[in-house]
């Protein structure tokens, strides 16, 4: 007999067993559509490998980089992918600290997205340096030459920030997975899966000792990941802001980049969730309520980003700084006007449609808006990087940048690389956080059991139980 109480977040989920059943369903035999998508992703990765091979053979001249535009598609795409990761950490760590019950069902996807996005981002500085086999020069390693990297350089801060972010996100992702891999281990009947999950679950059995230390460790990992995520895009923004290039040298950059990162990340979560929900029939887990809250998050960050755009123009005018003013005017009227206007339209104007509840509730509309934001946020990084360099102090040094075919192939390949990991994740690891969704479901109790028939179904807002003090309050 079913429990009469239902979670306000998942009114159609009857009990604990449903969560296991639906999560395990993702791990069964894939359909043709899935294989086609995976094939496309792998083909794009092949294209990226080919382009990178050619770039290694013929040198960095294969990219469209010129003097003065020394940073182009590679750095733009690096910033784009690091930013995508941020919403994952926002959902998994920051919303966890806020005890947001709606986070439980979407957090696993978001956190996977973070790990794979940062994994993608990490490729780009290495591609950009031209001789990838010397990437270890970035690291402070003792060498015979007895020289060390410059710790005053934001580029080195970036190395520390991004590697820390990748490590901590991967650890957080894996620790959260342990109880769910154990559930997969107990449920699967496929021999090789059983063996793999047995190893990966580390012998987890859900004992009181394990849960006690797990809940604490999870809380502290979330508490460490929260300032980390804010620091990572701040450090990325300082790659620019610490230099004296007009259009980069502003104090607004850190919060502006963090808000932009969360905007792009939330958009990517929606871009991934809408098709996954439809293909895998996860309507009971990604409900209207989840999309509504995501829409509000997207709207909020879009407003912050729009404010930052306005503030950049205001300061360019108000400061009376000639070069600053000229660069900002050039962004919307110069050779890159199309990129400048795409950025403003897609990030600050299109998301305003989400004020209308009807649009928020229409998944197709929301999906299209999220695609626009994804494109707009790539353009934002492009607009910050390229026109600023192409149009800085000396008019005789003004020179435009054109993306080469190798750069375009590597950009497309990065999407293939990201989606390849994401698709593999969907089939091999529990995509729904089984244990954490159960936290917001009313627990099975005998009291409710006995009176289930006479009582009408009732929705309760069960909050995630992170630590005891919260419960006792």
């Amino acid at each position: 007999m079913a429990n009469a109480l239902r979670s306000v977040f998942h009114p159609h989920v009857k009990g604990y067993a449903d969560v296991n059943r639906d999560s395990m369903r993702l791990l069964t035999k894939p359909g043709k559509g899935y294989l086609a998508l995976l094939g496309t992703a792998v083909a794009l990765v092949g294209l990226m490998v080919l382009a990178e091979g050619i770039q290694i053979a013929y040198g960095l001249g294969m990219a469209g980089l010129t003097n003065p535009v020394g940073w182009g598609t590679f750095i733009t795409t690096f910033v784009f992918w690091v930013g995508i990761g941020h919403a994952g950490t926002l959902i998994s760590a920051i919303l966890f600290l806020f005890r947001a019950g709606w986070r439980q069902s979407i957090y696993r996807f978001a956190e996977a997205m973070t790990v794979f996005a940062v994994l993608t981002a990490g490729l780009f500085p290495i591609i950009h340096i031209g001789r990838p086999w010397f990437f270890y020069w970035l690291l402070p390693l003792p060498s015979q030459r007895q020289i060390w990297p410059n710790f005053r350089s934001p580029l080195l801060w970036d190395v520390f920030a991004v590697t820390t972010y990748l490590t901590v996100s991967s650890v957080f992702f894996f620790i959260g997975l342990i109880p769910d891999i154990a559930a997969a281990r107990d449920a699967t009947t496929v021999p090789w899966r059983k063996k793999a999950y047995t190893v990966l679950a580390l012998g987890w059995r859900g004992t009181d000792r394990e849960w006690k230390h797990f809940s604490r460790a999870y809380l502290f990992l979330a508490a460490l990941a929260t300032p980390l995520v804010l620091s990572v895009h701040s450090v990325v923004s300082w790659d620019f802001a610490v230099s004296i290039v007009p259009g980069w040298h502003t104090t607004i950059f850190a919060p502006y980049f963090v808000a932009g990162a969360i905007l792009s990340g939330v958009a990517m979560v929606v871009t991934l969730m809408v098709p996954v929900r439809k293909i895998f029939h996860l309507e009971a887990y990604f409900t209207q309520l989840h999309f509504d809250r995501l829409a509000k998050l997207l709207l909020l960050t879009s407003l912050i980003v729009g404010y930052a755009y306005g503030m950049e123009y205001f300061m360019a005018w108000y400061s009376g700084e000639l070069y600053e003013r000229d660069v900002f005017l050039d962004r919307v009227t110069g050779d890159y006007w199309w990129a400048g206007w795409s950025m403003i339209t897609f990030n600050a104007i299109v998301p305003q449609l989400l004020w209308i509840p009807k649009v928020r509730r229409n998944l197709n509309a929301f999906f299209i808006i999220s695609i626009f934001v994804n494109i707009g946020m790539w353009y934002e990084r492009f607009v910050i990087i390229v026109p600023s360099l192409a149009h800085s102090y000396e008019p005789w040094k003004f020179m435009n940048y054109h993306m080469s075919w190798t750069e375009a192939a590597i950009l497309m390949g990065s999407f293939g690389w990201f989606f390849m990991w994401f698709l593999l994740f969907l089939r091999f690891l529990p995509g729904l956080s089984i244990a954490e969704i159960k936290e917001v479901l009313p627990p099975p109790t005998r009291d409710h059991h006995d009176v289930a028939e006479e009582r009408a179904e009732k929705l309760v807002e069960e909050l995630p139980t992170g630590y005891k003090e919260y419960e006792r309050r």
Partner: protein
Amino acid sequence: MRKSRSGVLGVFAHLDTLSDAVRRLRAAGYDQLTVFAPTLRHEIEEALESTESPVRIFTLVGAFTGTAAGAALAIWASLDWPLIVGGKEIVSLPAFSVIMFEVTILLGALSTVAGLFINARLPRIGRGEALYHPSFSAGHFGVFAHVPRDRYDAVRGILTESGSEEVLVEQS
């Protein structure tokens, strides 16, 4: 202290019957219990009156070690290769604070994981100290009382009275 291997396992479908069983067992003097749950529930921690996890100490020590390590690395490497850049001090603490911060987080997170593994005794190799039932990861709760054989009947009685659906005994 290692718990004894022999004992009785009760499988429960409900959280309230389980916490009731835990309380009754503890009242009867059976303190050596292992409780299984599919998700984190504080009703269980309260029934067990469990103490605070020491993982937080690991986090704290790891984080501060990270701050010191980050500072030491940046300062020592800069002194070892004393190149003046942009007229800045060789030891430029405002710039190094970023490195210190990132290494704080990195070592704090890694030592938190170490704290989890050490305290929760993961990875567990072998069959562990209590009987297990695969339904615990799906939706059932369970309590294993670590008791000698002569107490099996008494414990079984408490478990059945509290509403256990199935009672298993350790035979080995």
